[in-house]
Subunit: 318 residues, 2 copies
Amino acid sequence: IFAASSAFGQQDPLPSWNDGAAKQAIEGFVEKVTEEEGPDYVAPDNRIAVFDNDGTLWVEHPAYTQLVFAIDRVKALAPEHPEWKDKQPFKAVLEGDMKTLAASGQKGIAELVMATHAGMTPAEFETIVEDWLAEAKHPRFKKPYTELAYQPMLELLSYLRDNGFKTFIVSGGGIEFMRPWTDRVYGIPPDQVVGSSIKTEFQDKDGDPELMRMPAMNFIDDGPGKPVGINQHIGQRPIAAFGNSDGDLQMLEWTTAGDGPRFGMIVHHTDAKREYAYDRDTKFGRLDKALDMAPEEGWTVVDMKNDWKQIFPPEPAP
Amino acid sequence: IFAASSAFGQQDPLPSWNDGAAKQAIEGFVEKVTEEEGPDYVAPDNRIAVFDNDGTLWVEHPAYTQLVFAIDRVKALAPEHPEWKDKQPFKAVLEGDMKTLAASGQKGIAELVMATHAGMTPAEFETIVEDWLAEAKHPRFKKPYTELAYQPMLELLSYLRDNGFKTFIVSGGGIEFMRPWTDRVYGIPPDQVVGSSIKTEFQDKDGDPELMRMPAMNFIDDGPGKPVGINQHIGQRPIAAFGNSDGDLQMLEWTTAGDGPRFGMIVHHTDAKREYAYDRDTKFGRLDKALDMAPEEGWTVVDMKNDWKQIFPPEPAP
Ligand SMILES: [Ca+2]
Ligand SMILES: [Ca+2]
């Protein structure tokens, strides 16, 4: 028994991370908050870690997965909506005119989401999401999106949980777009997922009580919305936050401004060869102000190209 | 070791419950959903149980605890608000005119909450709640409110958790009024508390990122709001719901209308001697329609007087 636990203790919990400043910062933080006699000890109840999703836990280029989903849904539903042929941003989607779609901005994307994500129960929407994920493939990597989570981040999630952390997703993406698969892919159950949402209404038609998804925004869990979403869902200020864009800025600020030991990390996409390289000039996952602030705020910046031995999980044995 | 675990296995997990239909229904449900080879087996991930708070887990008479808190806060803050002397419902509170206060209804209570629960950070509000709970005593039982949780329900929470359930509070009360103490009293951590809320705003004054509680309602987690709140926070339909009033009706309906084994329970306050007796005719915790529906819906009604051996936890040894 001694030999076994000793061997276990020496196993590297982050094998896909190169030895370097980022890995050392993570391990140093976890060691100090878990050292019971140390000055920086944090009780397990307060070991709350929050993770952005798109670009932090899985691929977000060439476009957010949920946007690709919404576009596919517009195409699938188009026969029932002849009016979409002449109405933006639907027209742009149906004509494959990504430039016009992009120009429609957040408002345009919200219209697509509203039109395609509402008018059904949460259970029905879950089935649509699951069916789509089972078929859809990433255009470059030719794999299901759920196989394009970052292996080093999966190891990090497990490492934190093994050290008594409770891990949450806090994403600008739709809460019910993520919940069907986050447990399977990340080990994060539905109630530990925070995200943007449309309104949901209780209806009791014909004595059959149901929830109905409505075409109206309820909450935008992005930017200054992230600390609000965290407070609403988790009810505690986290001690560690992980993001990749300016949409995570306020979450990083609020998390790391708390008393006691704090950890902030930014995943910087620097690897065009194995994944993508982007920061200040991109429509999806723009990282500008947060990158500038990182040094003075003490946030660890992960350089994907140099810090990660591999990007994606290994292929399952054939 | 064998003797110890055998004895443990035979220990009654619900010692404060009299043997009777309610206790048998609870135990029967838990046994069938945890029997791995049985037809009603439910995987641990789906063992979600939701509990109303006021009148289900702790005392709500002669008035909701949070209303007593709001009244005490109005009195404490009155010197800073001379205008309250002439403004309802504050005037009624300051003059001890409970009839006028009651007549102001939900709207009046919401005004008290807004005026006394906003204009501070969540952490500051938590301190105010903790300080108040440490001092306040129930007018009849002369004990802190947090000692007036129902012992049989505390046993039920533990029993469910010991059987792989995840337990949540889903209350019409304020989410941040409950979170400071639910872990200590019920073993339910802050992120497993769902409740009503006022709006919270992210502010970054002087480079000090903070959340600020605003005097505006965000969400009413009562009646048809309860299934909506459950869906938003938990993201799964529970398999068991526990309530005590018509405010729990839609939660009970939605929970028990799902497929597979389901459990709904209503705590009926029938014990004027040891606690209170009320149902159809009360301002706090009105139970009317849900009581009528219980038989046909198959909901278990707990008769506090006959089903519970004791109401409150035993006094700690002196
Ligand atoms: Ca992101
Ligand atoms: Ca109640």
